[in-house]
Symmetry: C2
Subunit: 366 residues, 2 copies
DNA sequence: TCATGCCATGGAACCGGTTCCGAATTGGGA
DNA sequence: TCCCAATTCGGAACCGGTTCCATGGCATGA
């Protein structure tokens, strides 16, 4: 009857050393002589031994895992940030434990279980507003917290100035000579507090005011975050007759798509009858040639995760705040420039069965 | 000087009982009298005590976490499945540890660290082919493994018959009278083995053969999974002159988008000059009115996760296999039917600042 | 009244690592 | 040759739960 599981004690016995020595070897301590190091490593190899995560977690007092709280994960922009976060954490050897938060109750539940049970060493919140009382509790427990796509005083965060973004988008339309500029955005939600759309709206108002144009609330509309809703709202704006907007700033590309679809229904030519600019620079905006405001989404994720890694390594002293840069991507929906050819260079070759574009570095199967 | 951390011993001492009793209370054992139960619960409440995850993991011998291996996570279809998985796991009180796998090396690294360190109780692989030797190792260690969007004998899996799907899509085009039907798909990749596109291709060939049409490899093209690549490939097909296809089956909606964009460049009318059908029923296909094959993506995730939960609870005896149903969603890109109005009913109301569509059940901020 | 058995309970042993203290060995200098 | 310091190492104590066994109390039946 063999021993069931091989533990550190098994290795120690087998190698003829103490458990302490094996542990030192595992953790790369320099307090081990060359000879023993080799012997222990050999034994580990031979027994195919790996230390158990939960055991080392318990004695080390940390989990080597980071909790990621994500607001409605299905949104492409949120997704992109998440990918950035996961990649960096993974490279740092940290587990990424993902929690999808659809509403306030879920947020509370996840937070309390994460925090109280100490399941993770740190928390990254993406596009999410954390209740104040939770923040203080997290602070008291000294659990690192990093905000991505959000900003709070005295907390490390990677954020984007949505007000400036809204201003830039509106200014783009103003620079093209538009004066009647509409705004279509998300409902302001109190529960999860994704305030991005409202901030962009604020920027929109600022830009108008700076241009000496008073706000016309008839040109402003909000609804759920979907193309269909945006289409309905756009339709309402189009029916204003000669008072209808000549340009629309949609607070996200998803909404811009709905606006454009609806414009086509109304036989409005883009951009001559109606100029449109979105926000996020999602893939769909490039496909549909929609002008937009580019956010470094992936980068916001990687930056945030890097901060977390530094925090866990005790490398950052005080809260670090990083603001990422935005830029307007003018495309056909506002400029009307001739659509350009695919930017990437693709070489089509004759494949075994039909045409083929080979991918760089990829191994292909015949 | 107060005690630093409150442990189960603290609670036991405070409540005047043994640690065993507290543990029993925590785990809902019925071996505790009403009176002590109340007293212990009170103490727990008063001290705001929560058991430490890693400690219970160590002694219980399980982590209450599930590893999720995901192939290129950015693909919308993969994403949708992931969301389904996370939601179910979360409801079951299991942590979802996500690993993004971009290439074979990463897959190996993640797998070995997951498996050897026993970081998780089970593994869910989404749209991923696991190397045989890994499978046998996982089997030997008795770690539950569930495949989503993939199928292997003797393993629990949730899969979709891509061959049948490819056949359905092609038959749809055939039924509209098309005879010269092109195929645009992904490169067959050996490393991660996402064979979906190739399987759909197989279905395409079967449908053609059943209709008495021999395959014409001049109408077949493969490339990277992007709209741009698809556009380039489509362009090549369009330049075949009178031998050009009158219809194209794109193995995913992303590719179909590229095909349609390119058709517009070539002044081909959709669907009169060219009918197109995609695959996946992504949001973009509905926006652009592209016919497609609907896969229950979210459902595949939830089903897979449910299997995992059952497995971990020891409820399933032998490998359970579930095949989900597909259906063709005919839209304008093949039928040319008048575009329909938004399906959802939205009521536009006058909001505090502009128009507004209220969301069901959502709390709104003024 | 005493034997029997069940139920609630305390607490030691244990899960598998890490850490720290003390001991053993070695090397160098006096 | 002896002593001291540095280096290497063994192993007990510990992290904070869970589990199981032994124990004490109480009720039941004879």
């Amino acid at each position: 009857m063999r021993k069931r599981t091989i533990s550190i004690a098994t290795v120690a016995a087998e190698a003829g050393v103490g458990v302490g020595t094996v542990s030192r070897v595992l953790n790369g301590s320099d307090q081990v002589s060359e000879a023993t190091l080799k012997r222990v490593l050999g034994t580990i190899e031979r027994l195919d031994y790996r230390p158990l995560r939960s055991a080392s977690s318990l004695s080390k007092g940390r989990t080597d895992a980071v909790g990621i709280l994500v607001s409605v994960i299905t949104r492409p922009s949120v997704m992109a940030r998440l990918v950035g976060v996961i990649d960096v954490l993974s490279d740092a050897g940290l587990d990424a434990v993902v929690f999808n938060v659809e509403n306030r109750a879920q947020l509370e539940r996840h937070l309390s279980s994460i925090i109280d049970q100490r399941r993770v060493d740190g928390i990254i919140a993406i596009s999410l507003r954390i209740p104040k009382e939770r923040i203080t509790r997290i602070r008291k427990l000294a659990i690192p917290l990093v905000l991505v796509d959000n900003s709070l005083p005295n907390l490390p965060c990677v954020y984007i100035d949505d007000v400036a973004g809204g201003k830039m988008a509106t200014e783009h339309l103003l620079s093209l000579g538009h004066r009647r500029i509409g705004f279509i955005g998300d409902n302001a939600r109190s529960d999860l507090g994704m305030s991005a759309s409202e901030n962009r709206y604020a920027g929109y108002l600022m830009a108008l005011e700076a241009a000496g144009i008073g706000p016309d609330f008839d040109l402003v509309a909000r609804g759920p975050h979907s193309s269909e809703a945006a289409a309905v709202l756009a339709s309402a704006l189009f029916e204003l007759g000669k008072r209808r907007p000549t340009a629309i700033f949609a607070s996200s590309d998803t909404l811009a798509v709905g606006v454009i679809k609806e414009a086509q229904q109304h036989r409005l030519k883009i951009p001559d009858d109606l100029a449109v600019i979105g926000y996020d620079n999602l893939e769909v905006s490039s496909i549909l040639d929609i002008s937009t405001v580019n956010q470094p989404l992936l980068e916001s994720g990687t930056k945030g995760a890097s901060m977390m890694v530094s925090l866990l390594n005790g490398e950052i002293a005080k809260p670090h705040r990083e603001e990422l840069v935005l830029d307007v991507v003018p495309r056909g929906s506002s400029l009307g420039i001739q659509r350009n050819s695919p930017t990437k260079l693709y070489g089509v070759v004759e494949g075994p069965q039909g045409l083929q574009i080979l991918q760089g570095g990829e191994e292909l199967v015949s």
